[in-house]
């Protein structure tokens, strides 16, 4: 089914509830219906977070064309290359972006304030397109090599995800979600759809800083939020130093990258009344496929059993609507929300519906999933496969190490050897850290070299940029 029907249902039943900003659900639908008339052949968004994101997403759905959010922070050349691929269509953009998109063939550019003005009168609803296999969203993923790829998410994928995970109007009218992930990240799309179908108010943070996030959470009495790992660490730092707490926050979910167990433990201690959810998923799977629930967190934290305790470092168990298997160390998933398709490349989903994620992982006896990271990042030392995550975890356990990244460096003897980059919070030497790792892991895992950096390179969505580190070798 077309995702716009999710909004129609909520507008019918709870049209007076606030959806986003000052817009009610009824108004959101009226404006999206007006926006659909401007969408052309594709609704491209190059913008920060605002109510224009849900309006644009549903405008595109109602027009039966893809919603294509693009990272406005890209350099001009990259940005233009992506928008040229996304064209023809209409681009709704931050006013600062207008000039950067001049002269692209087939593209109509409107700045956000003008777009919002032109649809402010709304429009009577019509009939939504019914093709469930039409493309709902195209997301350009950064990729580690080569040209960016566009992940294809069809209406059937996104609506299956929402119907399988969210109860219709299951939120109370007082619930509010703080969305700080950008609109061109799958978590930003999932946040809109889940919030809408649950009838939850969306509060956007246009630009993440820990101070702004905590301010917004307190001011808006935020009950639900999703953050990426780097954000959570910084939020905790801020809460610790300011002494502020978040009494309204019932659910804080995190995902999108590797989360050190020490940060999770800190979070549970600092916010004992908040339920934590670790979500694992990919763009190609319409976001979450496995979750570590608040009960899982509490149970693991309270347990003396090392196997149960270790689950704080897992991503929990697959959703009931998802099948998940480990094949030769790789995580495979199957379910109606799984797309696995790239524009112009095709699908990597097998005929029987199974999709190889290219993430390494393992399941424990209780069915809890541990993600080792991208298989592409595996370091092959001699004939042995080393997971960078395992070595990074060992390094971060050292009291003087705040952050760690491990990559493979070419080596004449072994082919590849692990090299670590660390950010420290106290004095420690390379040989002390090498001894520390040797005491915990097999000697093949000991970094051949450890570089000390002031900070590690992350994307703004919290992904460690290993390619940047590789280029420094």
């Amino acid at each position: 089914m077309n995702i716009s029907m999710l909004l129609e249902m909520v507008a019918d039943s709870a049209g007076d509830r606030v959806a986003v900003g000052s817009l009610t659900y009824a108004e959101l639908l009226e404006r999206a219906t007006a926006g659909a008339k401007l969408a052309g052949d594709g609704f491209i968004a190059v913008d920060v977070n605002s109510e224009a994101v849900p309006i644009g997403l549903f405008s595109a759905a109602l027009a039966g064309v893809p919603y294509i959010p693009v990272n406005y922070r890209l350099a001009d050349e990259q940005l233009r290359a992506i928008v040229e691929r996304a064209a023809p269509g209409t681009a709704v953009v931050d006013p600062d972006v207008v000039g950067r998109l001049a002269g692209i063939s087939g593209l109509q550019v409107i700045d956000r304030p003008s777009f919002l003005d032109s649809i402010a009168g709304g429009e009577e609803r019509g009939v939504a397109p019914s093709d469930p296999d039409a493309i709902a969203v195209l997301l350009f993923t950064s990729g580690t090599t080569g040209a960016p790829k566009a992940a294809v998410l069809r209406h059937s994928h996104l609506s299956s995800y929402v119907l399988g995970t969210v109860e219709f109007l299951g939120s109370s009218p007082d619930d509010a979600a703080l969305v700080s992930v950008p609109p061109y990240h799958i978590a930003g799309i999932a946040a809109v759809l889940s919030s809408v179908y649950g009838g939850r108010r969306i509060v956007y943070l246009p630009q993440f800083t820990p101070e702004a996030w905590v301010d917004a959470a307190r001011r808006e009495a935020i009950t639900h939020a999703m953050v990426v790992p780097t954000m959570l660490g910084r939020i905790l730092d801020h809460l610790e130093s300011s002494g502020e707490r978040l009494p309204a926050l019932r659910h804080l979910s995190y995902g999108g990258g590797r989360m050190p167990v020490s940060v999770v433990e800190r979070a549970l201690t600092l916010l004992p009344d908040t339920g934590f959810v670790n979500a694992y998923g990919l763009t190609e799977t319409s976001s979450t496929v496995a979750i570590l629930t608040p009960e899982d967190h509490r149970e693991a934290m309270a347990s003396d059993d090392p196997a149960v305790r270790a689950r704080l470092g897992s991503v929990g168990r697959p959703l009931p609507t998802i099948e998940l298997e480990i094949r030769h160390g790789e995580i495979w998933v199957r379910g109606e929300q799984v797309s696995g398709e790239y524009e112009g490349i095709g699908t990597t989903v097998r005929d029987d519906g199974w999709f190889p994620t290219k993430d390494g992982g393992r399941l424990d006896d209780g069915g809890y999933l541990f993600v080792d990271g991208r298989l592409d990042d595996v370091i092959v030392r001699g004939a042995e496969n080393l997971s960078p995550g395992e070595i990074e975890d060992a390094l971060v356990e050292h009291p003087a190490v705040a952050e760690a990244a491990v990559i493979g460096a070419a080596d004449d003897e072994w082919g590849e050897v692990p090299v670590a980059f660390v950010v420290t919070s106290a004095d420690v030497t390379e040989s002390e850290l090498q001894t520390w790792v040797r005491d915990r892991l097999r000697s093949s895992r000991v970094p051949a070299r450890i570089e000390f950096l002031d900070e590690l390179p992350y994307s703004e969505t919290g992904k460690l940029l290993r390619r940047v580190l590789k280029s420094e070798l």
Binding site: V127, S130, G164, T288
Partner: protein, 102 residues
């Protein structure tokens, strides 16, 4: 009736409306209140009545399925009639609420 995924239907005898989330494996008749449902854009005929055997009602936002044919529908509007496929009541698909991960 062609119960394609994404197609929308309304009850001939009450306010119920549905969208087909998953199509059935073969030809079938989708009914509400004991009467075949009609196309979403069709006018509801006058004087129709919900049959007693199918008067349990349909609640908006609930999903209904039939494991045999594989059909799954979502109620986009509630009504007094209950849903059936070729006379067999459709079962409510219970979904365990999950903690929000978004």
């Amino acid at each position: 009736m062609e119960l394609k995924a994404g197609s929308r239907w309304r009850s001939a005898v009450c306010d119920t409306e549905v969208v087909v989330v998953r199509a059935p494996s073969g030809a079938a008749s989708l009914e509400c209140g004991g009467q075949p449902m009609i196309a979403h854009d069709a006018e509801r005929p006058e004087g129709g009545q919900v049959a007693d055997a199918f008067s349990g009602g349909t609640q908006m936002g609930k999903r209904f399925a039939d494991p045999e044919t594989g059909i799954e529908v979502l109620a986009t509007k509630g009504g007094a009639g209950s849903l059936s496929l070729d006379g067999q009541p459709l079962a409510l698909k219970d979904a365990k609420p999950l903690p929000s991960s978004d």
